[in-house]
């Protein structure tokens, strides 16, 4: 990984990344739980996944270990698959949630 990016990432203390990720994750949870629109729910799920991606990237930089970034790609892949499936499942979303 590019040393410059790593240094750039390390400018911000790790705790901040962790807290940010948790915040994003929580926002994702809130969205999934409280919103009723299918699209928004899927977006919030994405948000949860991506907060984890952020966290992994930060850890990766701090541990100087590229493996986590590979993991991130996998997560993106899986998330995409999930969204596809989620959109494909038929049905009226209001009724589904009632």
């Amino acid at each position: 990984m590019n040393e410059g990016i790593i240094t750039a990432i390390r400018v911000v203390p790790l705790e901040h990344y962790v807290i940010l990720s948790f915040l994003l994750f929580s926002i994702g949870i809130a969205g999934v739980v409280f919103r009723r629109n299918t699209i928004i729910i899927l977006m919030c799920l994405e948000l949860m996944f991506n907060s984890v991606n952020l966290l992994l990237t930060a850890f990766s930089a701090y541990h100087s270990d590229p493996r986590a970034q590979v993991f991130v790609f996998f997560i993106m892949l899986v998330a995409a698959a999930e969204v596809t499936v989620g959109l494909a499942i038929p049905g009226d979303d209001e009724a589904q949630r009632g």
Partner: protein, 628 residues
């Protein structure tokens, strides 16, 4: 010796065989045939007993015949064994002798009854049980008979089972006997606990090694058992009701034999009782109280058999009073004479009832002495015997008890003499109301058949001469029965009357005078002008109370029967239905209810599910962080 053993086994075995045979083939036999078989068997038993008796050597003490191993496990050996000694022989003679006569009598008495074979089977069974009772070599074998006679008494009282009253009487008898049996069982358990054996000989030998409290408990419990069988306070109320059974049953079971089982038991364990004066006092006063209580009730009864029943209770009271004073042989003597004259009285009463076609109310009798002569004469002899007219058998036996009482406690003496006066009064009232005056009933009286009158005559003779069995020194005898019994019960040896001859004469005189006065009074009251008891409601309070048998039955009903029913119902309705079942269902229902509530959480609403999941995660997170 083998011959003796065989005879000993034969004595109870014959009636048992009769019972089995007759009940198995009860449909095949007529009343007469069945009666003859039963009578023959018991008569053979009697003959065997006589042979045993004649060959018995008092010096040898006694003999145990081990028939069968019964209860034998580690630490316990209780065989089915019979004991032949003076005491059991005496009782056996009474049981088989009087028993045979009553069997004979029953042939005539029951010949109309279609279930007569069953009756004879049960009578034979009773004889077997009674023989086991008196012949048992240990407490447990005695207990076989003890329970057996209770059972037979139940069966025979309720012989005419279609009448609910009779069934009630039968059940009452059995239950009361069983209550007494609790005492007996506990006493046996205690004895075994202390001595590890129940053999009479061993128990009596080692009695002194039982601690004082144990002896006290054992003797009191044994006595409690005896009160059940022998109808003493507090368990006496069944006996008068037991008159529901056929009259021969009343004669055999409820007068001559079974009810004396308690007396027999106390004499059997006299060694124990001798060690506990306290218990003997209890027995003395219980006996005296019973004698008086029953005698008072006898004054106003109108049922011929009930009068005799209360008289039996009263006479048993005398026997127990004697036991309480340590006069064991006197008690046994009274048992014997009482067996003669009370059996006689009952059978004669049965003859009267038979003659009048089933009538038992003395208010509807009278003037029968002309129409049924033999019955009258024998009944008359019975009456003077029980009243203790001089030289009758009852005179000797009762006077012996009174003499002991005088020596032991003047108060008891006074009360017992008063009881004797009452006895004379109600017996003569009975005699006069039944046989004298004019006939007040409607039936045509006729004399009973020979099978019935012969036993009456034999018993009448015995009632007269029975006193000779234990003729006191005063009359030139040397108390043969007492000496005979000494070989079986060592305690008898110490019972001597230490009164001077003159005192004895005076005592006899007093009693005799009182008896004759009473007879005269009764003659005036019932023969000169026949006084019948009116309606209970018109009586003065005390008299009404006595006529209503001191309301003891009602008291027991209120104290025991009703509360028991109440308890049974409420244990069920409250204990079971309101507590136990709901308690158990409650657990299940609670589970179902919780299940329902939890199931409602499963609403199918996706947001709610997610929310619940998040809530769960937060809660677990808190738990995790807190416990970290």
């Amino acid at each position: 010796m083998v011959m003796t053993d065989l005879l000993a086994v034969l004595v109870p075995a014959l009636p048992l065989a009769g019972a089995v045979l007759l009940s198995a083939l009860r449909r095949k036999f007529s009343a007469t045939v069945a009666g003859s078989i039963a009578t023959a068997l018991i008569a053979i038993s009697f003959v065997a007993t006589v042979i045993l008796f004649s060959g018995f050597d008092t010096a040898a003490g006694g003999r145990t015949v081990r028939v069968l191993d019964w209860l034998s496990i580690t630490g316990m050996d209780i065989p089915l064994a019979l004991r032949i000694d003076a005491l059991s022989l005496t009782m056996m003679l009474i049981v088989t002798g009087v028993g045979a006569l009553i069997h004979l009598y029953s042939i005539g008495y029951m010949h109309d009854d279609e279930r007569a074979p069953t009756f004879f089977a049960q009578l034979n069974l009773f004889s077997f049980a009674m023989l086991m009772l008196v012949m048992g070599s240990n407490f447990l074998v005695t207990f076989i008979g003890w329970e057996g006679v209770g059972l037979c008494s139940y069966l025979l009282i309720g012989f005419w089972y279609t009448k609910p009253d009779y069934n009630y009487a039968a059940r009452k008898a059995f239950v009361m006997n069983r209550i007494g049996d609790v005492g007996m069982v506990l006493a046996m358990a205690l004895l075994f606990h202390f001595l590890g054996t129940l053999e009479y000989t061993a128990v009596m030998e080692n009695a002194h090694s039982i601690p004082a409290w144990g002896l006290l408990a054992i003797t009191l419990l044994l006595f409690f058992g005896a009160t059940g069988k022998s109808a003493q306070i507090p368990l006496f109320t069944w006996l008068p009701d037991a008159m529901a059974g056929p009259t021969p049953v009343s004669a055999l079971i409820h007068a001559a034999t079974m009810v004396t089982a308690g007396v027999f038991l106390v004499v059997r364990s006299s060694v124990l009782f001798d060690l506990v004066p306290y218990t003997r006092d209890v027995i003395l006063w219980t006996g005296t109280a019973t004698a008086l209580l029953a005698a008072t009730i006898g004054l106003f009864q109108n049922d011929i058999k009930k009068v005799l029943a209360y008289s039996t209770v009263s006479q048993l009271g005398y026997m127990f009073a004697a036991l309480g004073m340590g006069a064991y042989s006197a008690a046994m003597f009274h048992v014997t004479t009482h067996a003669f004259f009370k059996a006689l009285l009952f059978l004669a009463a049965g003859s009267v009832i038979h003659a009048l076609g089933g009538e038992q109310d003395i208010r509807k009798m009278g003037g029968l002495k002309g129409s049924i002569k033999i019955t009258f004469v024998t009944f008359f002899i019975g009456t003077i015997a029980i009243s203790g007219l001089p030289l009758m058998s009852g005179f000797f036996s009762k006077d012996l008890i009174l003499a002991h009482a005088f020596q032991h406690s003047p108060v008891a003496f006074g009360l017992l003499v008063f009881g004797a006066v009452l006895t004379t009064f109600y017996m003569f009232r009975l005699l006069f109301l039944v046989f004298y005056g004019t006939y007040r009933g409607k039936a045509h009286a006729h004399e009973s058949p020979l099978t019935m009158t012969v036993p009456l005559m034999v018993l009448a003779v015995l009632s007269v001469v029975g006193g000779a069995l234990n003729l006191p020194h005063l009359f030139g005898g040397h108390e043969p029965m007492k000496h005979f019994l000494e070989s079986a019960a060592a305690a008898i040896r110490s019972e001597e009357i230490e009164l001077s001859a003159s005192t004895e004469w005076i005592l006899m005189g007093i009693t005799a005078v009182l008896v004759f006065t009473t007879i005269a009074f009764a003659y005036g009251r019932f023969v000169k002008r026949t006084t019948l008891e009116g309606d209970e409601a018109d009586m003065p309070l005390l008299k009404r109370l006595i006529a209503q048998r001191w309301r003891v039955d009602e008291l027991y009903a209120a104290l025991f029967e009703k509360p028991y029913g109440w308890l049974s119902e409420h244990f069920h309705s409250i204990g079971e239905l309101r507590i136990m079942v709901p308690l158990q269902n409650g657990v299940g229902e609670a589970a179902l209810r919780v299940g329902n509530v939890v199931r409602k959480l499963q609403t199918g609403n996706a947001s709610f599910h997610l929310l619940a999941m998040v809530a769960g995660i937060i809660i677990f997170l808190v738990i995790t962080l807190l416990s970290n």
